[in-house]
Symmetry: C2
Subunit: 325 residues, 2 copies
């Protein structure tokens, strides 16, 4: 079996998009740009780790489908950045900003197709299942993004709304990544389903961690300004929990804070963070992350595989929730 | 074998999108809307006609991939309408106009994934080839759209540029449609390649016919205002040929006409049509359409199949070039 570092190196070698035309440049340059500005590659990594529970044979039939997950993810980011009118991602200009909206639409489109080109390298025996899993997941991701946009205009949402939304927008793709590796590795239905569940619960933990870091992370390490979600009134786990715990008066206070504009950024972020502190939201988030992490680990255990085989996935799960950016 | 009318009826039964979620409505309503506002369904029709050269068995393994072609085509229209800022299509508001840009981006995205969901119903034995053909074609369509947008800012383009651009933007998808039916029908490599060539040449004829009708069609039958392409300075076959034939003085005249705005629409359309008449562009276009139609028919003949089998494809090709809208 390979270590996490060895899996990283396998991925680095694959990071340059292969087997594609490069003309016209206006269409394909943004693809190379997106693939080059970083990203933690967690989805292909999870796929390969999952595969590695069952096989050590790392060739195109697993490497390319793993890369399909990353290419698909990048496509969703390009289009999300248009819909959110975001100027930066990972500290760099978004494709939308660096080029223009039409370029972002079309190069995103070609990335979504390219994902399927890579996916098609999966072994023929499992290709129908791999395709079905991927397409179902991809449509769910779009549904999650739609709910996210629909919820923006609501004053608040429930915890169930939030979990449903991030389940679709984020968790299913990690679930798909984990299951896909097992499918390609020839895993039994039980193992494949267990890994799907592992990926899903880990995906929820991942998103809540994301929400947590945006408000309580270390700015130097995090790589972007703290508090962006608060400034944008994003429906994070923290905000949803805050509304859930707040008294009537605190709800009014929170609603007033959410009205503050970009010019009162510092004040808004500080005041909302304070309220989170007063209401125990920070600790509750940390506890919730650990709770979902445990669900993920419980699911991993149902594979019935010994700890010396599952250790790298366990290490990966630890890194997901204990990361600082 | 089935007649064209019978193939039409098979398609009508399939037109309502099946096997998909309907929530959230904001995401899926635009899909039903697009599928409902007409469209000639020529791509799935071509796929089924091609398949019918080899088999009479019309079940999901061919019906759903045929519908994938239509769903994909509709996706490209949704996104093209955003990029072109078009308000109407087929006499109805575009998704972009009826809802908004974000809805158009995301529902287009989900349509492109849905196409793959339908494609996956192809028989397992040919699925890798079907996928590869479709994905290659889909990327080429994006390339064609990119060239089309790049060419907008150029004062003029050559005939080779034009043919290359419509080859990618339009012809390859008809070629793919024809070949896909044959692949699913179990056709030999020779038959599949011959049908690809048939579809490609017919696709070129189809686009030049489109250009011709926009300027010289019968407005009542055509269903939209004549001259839209002239008003928008679209690089049609007619305009490209006009520049090719024009004297220096006529080029200057044409360039001045292209500067005229929406407020001088009538004058612009009439003057450019006159210039086309003077330079024999109208007749040349009609002749070119017949020439590509002949190439398509020659390709069809290389299948070696008897005329009583290929008659419906021949009839389809006739209808393509002799249509009035």
């Amino acid at each position: 079996m390979y270590t996490l570092e060895e899996i990283d190196r396998i991925l680095e070698n694959s990071a340059r998009l292969q087997n594609i035309s490069r003309e016209p440049a206006t269409l394909y340059d943004p693809l190379d740009y997106m693939m080059s500005i970083g990203g933690k590659r967690i989805r292909p990594k999870l796929c390969l780790l999952s595969y590695n529970l069952l096989s050590d044979d790392f060739q195109r039939p697993v490497i390319f489908p793993a890369m399909a997950l990353e290419v698909f993810h990048e496509f969703t980011l390009i289009h999300d950045d248009i819909m959110d009118r975001s100027d930066t991602r990972r500290g760099c200009p978004t494709v939308y900003k660096k080029w223009n909206e039409n370029v972002a639409i079309l190069s995103g489109d070609v990335m979504s197709i390219l994902a399927y080109k890579y996916l098609a390298y999966a072994p023929q025996a499992v290709l129908p299942k791999v395709l079905d899993l991927f397409s179902t997941t991809a449509m769910q991701v779009c549904e999650g993004q739609q709910y996210d946009m629909d919820y923006e205009s609501l004053p608040f949402i429930t915890r169930e709304d939030y979990l449903g939304m991030i389940g679709l927008k984020t968790a299913v793709l990690l679930a798909c990544s984990a299951k896909m590796g097992a499918l390609i590795g020839g895993g039994s239905k039980e193992i494949c389903d267990a890994l799907y569940e592992f990926g899903y619960q880990l995906g929820i933990a991942f998103q809540i961690t994301d929400d947590y870091l945006d408000t309580f992370g270390n700015e130097k390490v995090f790589g972007k300004k703290i508090g962006g979600d608060i400034v944008n009134n994003k429906k994070t786990w923290l905000l949803v929990e805050c509304f859930r715990r707040a008294t009537g008066e605190q709800k009014c206070q929170l609603e007033k804070l959410l009205q503050l504009g970009e010019d009162q950024r510092e004040e808004k972020v500080e005041a909302v963070r304070d309220l989170y502190g007063v209401l125990g939201v920070k600790e509750a988030a940390a506890s919730e992350i650990l709770s979902y992490h445990k669900k993920a680990m419980d699911a991993l255990a149902t594979t019935g595989l010994p700890a010396d085989r599952t250790q790298y996935l366990a290490q990966f799960a630890e890194e997901i929730i204990h990361r600082e950016k």
